[in-house]
Symmetry: C2
Subunit: 460 residues, 2 copies
């Protein structure tokens, strides 16, 4: 049987072809939220089926009410080794605003930067680039004799829209999906040189509210003063969502939010996290969250309320004296601890309704709802994975939190009692969800090497 | 010389051809605020030049830094009669949102309604239909022997964007534009059966504010809580613009705003204005302006602050967990009395700046700025025009206010000491600035007849 060094050498030798494979996947605009991209989502799913079939997986596209899942299985050399299930998602965020991209978002390319080459394109990092690090590790094993343990994969196409089809699919296919450890590659490194395992993830509640007043847009001269303006009403409501200390004012919002345990707080204090540099990188200087909290708390362990989008009235160039009939906003909440997304959704809707003046009606659309997640920090799998990461990066892997949300991790814990290892290689400046998203070529290369070492370590 | 009955008979006989002429003008999408429609604005100007040339006017397109003016002159039979200058505008508001139009906005058509036929299309009322009532009156005189008095016309193409080129053009061409009376057809009737002369017009200040935070759109999971959200800042500022009684909170805003003189207040109380019906027509039930004011005060004699548009972040279908770098709003103020638009612009900008947290910068764009206008109510010309309107409509013409703004009227008073007669035939339900804008066919027909009577009365 091949040694781990053989496998790593194969990954090194495969780099050019590996990039070509990733670029094929990146060039498919699989934007799950956009109905016009439905066929592209299917293409991305089929691409993965083809790719993994070539690696010896028994794999197929599995239909759901939404985007299909891709599920596959391959046997490994050691039957007594733990069986892993790798999860990733083939859907991406919308690329808008397109005018801010230096090159078209679905024409991936390599760009030279002072810190090395970068892969640029929508999904380069989130999650196609990350997902392919694992696939390339599997390829290297395959090409040097075979996988060290049983590997299953689950790729979904609705992660960016809150994974609506996942609970039903899991319930129906629980036995098939059950494994010993779940592996996820959708998180960040601590920094360019330091690997990390994410053990706390915030949940997400995403709501849209539409306020309607008059039965049509009005002339602000002829009706201004007398007719209610839904933008004004919406502004007032959105302004009320935070108090002067940056805390969220929804009744009951902080139920289930605990103070950080002292042991974790102490560990975070020891991280050499530079608040100034973190903010300066995106052009900011002052933390904007709850007063008296550190930036790491704000983004890892405290809940938030953000207005993700707002629109109403005339938004074109120039001026139009319209008094609009409608205004809408998208509002999302990052959740922590035992915050209950259903209760907070209700609290938000009540909050809006209570503030509506005469003649204004509200409509609500729920886009996503998932609670926060904590991963066990003392498991044998985690211990082995940390060691494997340290071998690759020559630095200990840190245990960190993440402000993002990966709902599936909670679902697998609840439904199948599977613990997850959240290991990813993105960097804070990867512009996930933003124009000119990128993934470091080193993340892609050493990410694949890391997974090879982790699989070997788990099977050892 | 022909009698007024001959002229009126000619207008009646011309109706079908008159509609064809109006439809030609309505089919030109002369949207002044849209750079892509610049050539269409020129086409509309040229169309008017051709039309008036055919009526014996010495007329031409006159270039400005913006859209051209159209200026023409024609001699009348009576040299001792007052010389009138008619003002109208050939530009129109944007037609968006297009999906709310039953038919394309620039394909004008006649529609049957219980109250009679309607002309439907962008500009049908504001101001192409109104403007053409005067042109058709001139045609009828021309075809029955000639105009009764000297007539000049001034058509501009920037009324809907605040007439930026007008002050300079007036200053340069003061002598040519000077006349005895200015006539404007851009206002409303009291109701379907009752003509009106508008003697109070609100001014307009139109500002755009753009707030910028981070140097790019951010992932709300990775940065939410720590990074400032410009939509949240903007919402708070916009919410602060009104107090709980509906009054505008800008410092100094009400300087120069007088209580309505008792004589006018008494006259307005006698108008059979139905607040409930006025609001019900647009789907509303409660007046939304300053507490303790009547709806007529709110729309005619009180200043307002309206948010005409707002946009920021992700506004497409579905969800995107973005924390946006930018948010913008268009905010306009209707002004009355001696309110100073420059001072209020400064007050607004200070108000915004004072409320900006660290890391948020504001940019401002001024789109329009004009003070309120009052027209003399005791002139001989007004007396004659009222009589002429009464002859046509068999009801006395009311003296009313209007919430809209026609900046040129103030400019002509200030610069050339010309009083204006604001006489128009639109109705409150004409949907000016809204989808499916219309003009009653009876307004178009009897409007032309009204102008014929007014010209004859002024020249008598």
């Amino acid at each position: 049987m091949a040694t781990i060094d053989d496998v790593l050498a194969k990954i090194d030798a495969n780099q050019t072809a590996a990039l070509d494979r990733l670029f094929s996947l990146l060039s498919i605009p699989s934007v799950s939220t956009d109905p016009a991209r439905a066929a592209d989502c299917l293409r991305a799913a089929d691409w993965l089926v083809g790719e993994l079939k070539g690696l010896g997986f028994e794999i197929s596209r599995r239909e759901t009410d939404g985007k299909p899942m891709v599920v596959g299985h391959a046997k490994g050399a050691r039957r007594d080794a733990p069986h892993v299930l790798f999860y990733g998602h083939y859907d991406v965020q919308p690329a808008e605003p397109l005018e801010l991209w230096e090159k078209p978002p679905f024409e991936p390319r390599l760009v030279d930067a002072p810190t090395g080459q970068r892969i640029v394109g929508r999904g380069a990092c989130d999650d196609k680039g990350q997902l392919m690090t694992f696939v390339e590790a599997c390829r290297a094993f395959r090409e040097t004799g075979g996988l060290p343990c049983d590997v299953s994969v689950l790729f979904e196409g609705e992660e960016e829209i809150g994974s609506p089809s996942l609970p039903g699919f899991m319930a129906k296919n629980a036995k098939e999906l059950k494994a010993d450890v779940m592996l996820v590659c959708d998180t960040a490194m601590w920094d360019r040189a330091t690997p990390a395992i994410t053990t706390m993830l915030r949940g997400l509640l995403y709501e849209e509210v539409i306020l309607r007043g008059a039965n049509r847009d009005l002339h602000s001269g002829l009706f201004g003063g007398a007719a209610i303006n839904p933008i004004r009403v919406l502004s007032r409501i959105l302004a009320d969502l935070h108090d002067e200390n940056g805390a969220v004012t929804l009744p009951g919002f902080y139920e289930g939010v605990d103070e950080l345990p002292e042991e974790i707080a102490a560990q975070w204090r020891e991280l050499d996290f530079n608040e100034e540099a973190f903010l300066a990188d995106v052009g900011l200087s002052a933390p904007a969250g709850e007063k008296g909290r550190s930036v790491l708390e704000m983004i890892w362990s405290r809940p938030t309320c953000e207005i993700n989008g707002i629109v109403g009235g005339f938004t074109g160039e120039g001026s139009k004296t319209v008094l609009p009939a409608e205004a809408r906003a998208k509002v999302s909440f990052r959740l922590v601890g035992r915050q209950n997304p259903d209760k907070i959704s209700q609290s938000f809707r009540d909050f809006v309704e209570e503030r509506l003046p005469a003649d204004v009606k509200a409509e609500f659309i729920g886009h996503a709802s998932s609670p926060a997640i904590s991963v066990a920090t003392k498991s044998e799998a985690l211990r082995r994975a940390r060691r494997a990461l340290e071998s690759e990066w020559s630095k200990p892997a840190l245990l960190i939190g993440s402000g993002g949300s990966i709902p599936i991790v909670g679902a697998f814990k609840r439904e199948l009692n599977m613990d997850a290892l959240l290991i990813g290689f993105s960097l804070d400046d990867d512009r996930a969800h933003s124009p000119n998203e990128k993934y470091e070529r080193s993340s892609f290369h050493k990410g694949a090497r890391s997974w090879a070492r982790i699989l070997a370590a788990l099977a050892a």
